[in-house]
């Protein structure tokens, strides 16, 4: 948790503290080694400061991931809640749709979208969010079904609470823990997809950067300059580890 906060904080404010902008090229220091003067962690193959790029990249990646996860959260919770509450035929139909969508090679549809409509960060995270809501919808529906059987929901009905009140005041608050847990678990997925797209050259566009792009660049010449892979790699792996751990902990605590 602390590590997470530290990474997010540094990524937000860090770029202000560094002399180099993420896209500025230092012609005097192409492929500089770490700890060279002026570039604490060295530069990449065209002389851009790695530390600055990593910080900005982290920010972009986190931003995309958070936005996509939020899209997934909203769509997933709404869909799952409606299906779980209505039950019966409506539930059956809505879950069939989710099943069907699950069977789609969505990665490829996203790639298609990117190719067709050009690349934009907006599209990246809308696309990803639309893939990731499926799991959220399934989980939320399952929880709704479990909650609906709880006597306190029946008691609320007997107390005269209309369905909207029951959903808003009893069910959604009891769902929140699980939803947040899956939100956290969605973020690593999104980060992976983002980096995958970046690898294909379909992610955010140069000179903008992201963790995925940095790792791809680093991986490209890792025999020459392993440090260029190391920093973004370490940031990404730490980020994902923390998010996964935290998400799993929350999930185990709140799942009914």
């Amino acid at each position: 948790m602390l590590v997470l906060a530290a990474i997010a904080f540094t990524a937000l404010l860090g770029p202000l503290a560094i002399d180099w902008r993420y896209d500025a090229i230092d012609w005097n220091a192409v492929h500089a080694a770490p700890f060279s003067p002026g570039h604490l962690l060295g530069t990449d193959s065209v002389g851009r400061d790695l530390l600055a790029r990593t910080l900005v990249g982290t920010r972009v990646t986190l931003g995309v991931a958070a936005a996509a996860a939020l899209v997934a959260l909203v769509v997933g919770v709404a869909w799952g809640a409606v299906a779980g509450w209505c039950g019966g035929r409506i539930d059956e139909a809505m879950m069939r749709i989710v099943d069907a969508l699950y069977a789609l090679p969505f990665m490829f549809v996203v790639i298609l979208l990117m190719v067709v409509f050009g690349r934009s960060i907006l599209l990246v995270f809308i696309g990803i969010g639309l893939v990731e809501w499926l799991t959220m919808a399934r989980v939320v529906r399952g929880q709704m079904l479990a909650l609906r059987e709880r006597p306190f929901v029946t008691a609320a009905e007997a107390a005269g609470a209309p369905p909207v009140t029951i959903i808003l005041r009893h069910m959604l608050p009891n769902l929140a823990g699980v939803a947040i847990a899956y939100l956290l678990l969605t973020i690593p997925q999104v980060v992976m997809i983002e980096s995958f797209l970046s690898f294909l050259g379909l992610g955010v566009q140069e000179p903008m950067t992201s963790l995925g792009i940095l790792i791809k660049d680093g991986a490209d010449d890792m025999d020459m300059a392993p440090h260029a892979l190391l920093l973004p790699g370490v940031v990404m792996v730490t980020l994902l580890l923390c998010l996964t751990r935290l998400g799993e902990k929350l999930r185990d605590r709140f799942t009914l």
């Binding site: 069939r96 069907a100 090679p105 490829f108 190719v115 690593p188 980096s195 991986a219 890792m222 892979l229």
Partner: protein, 306 residues
């Protein structure tokens, strides 16, 4: 059982059709076409090309035509690899991709289940924590990092294994790509199996089996493993999808002539029929794997049988 298969196929076919139609429309409404190359073609040539490939017909006719041909196993001509039909390209790429994906899935299952059983048997120990940390790490590492890393370690530095090309199916060429593709899935399977076992081991029927004085190893395998595999089975569908996307990367990194490469090339070159063909094929494969997962459910949990 047959009822289940029939029911699944009933939902699978519309899904497949939806994928095809959706992708088809997307590609058509997109700005730019396959013939917008470096230099503009003169209108006449362009028109001739369009009509030759049937691109001038109304959209719904194009779709109907495409699906009719598809049913006969004809994926249409490739617009970029002019001398090949898409069917040819798929016929070349598919065996490579299937071998790669199949072996990787197998390896991932072996590694993942092994790790899951080991950790669950020694829950709370250092081995448990170590392996689970490793598994989480594996799921957090993109395959395009693992791939080059392996290539560097075992290929370039030690020279033990070839790092690029297919070598006409030579087993040694396959080792690194298969490992690179399997590792992330192995991590995920290990985590699922571990969590599943932990849950099952806390249940009453395990205490009952222990009360009966049975050996721990027997309890683990006879009484706990099957129900614990249910989450693993439900991961089979997504795992297959993951293998396919992973294969795109791995095939690029290790320069393998598989389907993934064709897909990326096709997408970048706006080779509609090629991309469509690959997407259709992938959708079919994923649906197949979800069906397998459903069947596995029935075996794992008799309550799910009809």
């Amino acid at each position: 059982m047959f009822d289940l298969i029939r029911r699944r196929l009933l939902t699978a076919l519309p899904t497949l059709a939806a994928v095809i139609i959706l992708s088809f429309i997307l590609m058509r409404v997109a700005p730019g076409g396959p013939f917008d190359g470096e230099r503009p073609l003169d209108p006449q040539t362009r028109e001739a090309l369009m009509s030759a490939y049937g691109l001038d017909k109304p959209l719904h006719e194009q779709i109907t035509l495409y699906i009719t041909n598809l049913l006969r196993g004809d994926f249409g001509p490739s617009l970029v690899y002019r001398d090949f039909t898409v069917t040819d390209l798929i016929a070349r790429g598919l065996p490579v991709s299937l071998t790669l994906g199949g072996l990787a899935l197998l390896l991932a299952l072996i590694l993942g289940l092994g790790a899951g059983l080991t950790t669950a048997a020694r829950a709370g120990s250092r081995i448990d924590h170590g392996i689970m940390l490793g598994a989480t790490l594996l799921t957090a590492l993109p395959s395009f990092v693992v791939g080059p890393l392996l290539a560097l370690l075992f290929g370039l530095w030690t020279g033990w294994l070839p790092v690029s090309g297919w070598g006409d199916g030579d087993a040694r060429h396959m080792i690194l790509p298969v490992i690179a593709l399997a590792l992330p899935a192995a991590g995920a399977i290990a985590k699922l199996a571990r969590a599943g076992l932990a849950e099952v081991l806390g249940q009453d029927h395990i205490r009952m089996a222990r009360a009966r004085g049975m050996r721990w190893s027997r309890i683990l395998i006879v009484h706990a493993l099957r129900p614990a595999l249910i989450p693993v089975a439900s991961y089979l569908g997504p795992a297959a999808a993951g293998m396919l996307t992973g294969a795109v990367v791995i095939e690029t990194v290790f320069a393998l002539p598989g389907l993934g490469r064709y897909f990326v090339q096709g997408a970048l070159n706006r080779d509609y029929p090629l991309v469509l063909g690959v997407v259709t094929l992938y959708a079919g494969l994923i649906i197949l794997f979800n069906l397998l997962a459903d069947l596995a459910y029935g075996w794992l949990d008799p309550r799910a049988r009809l």
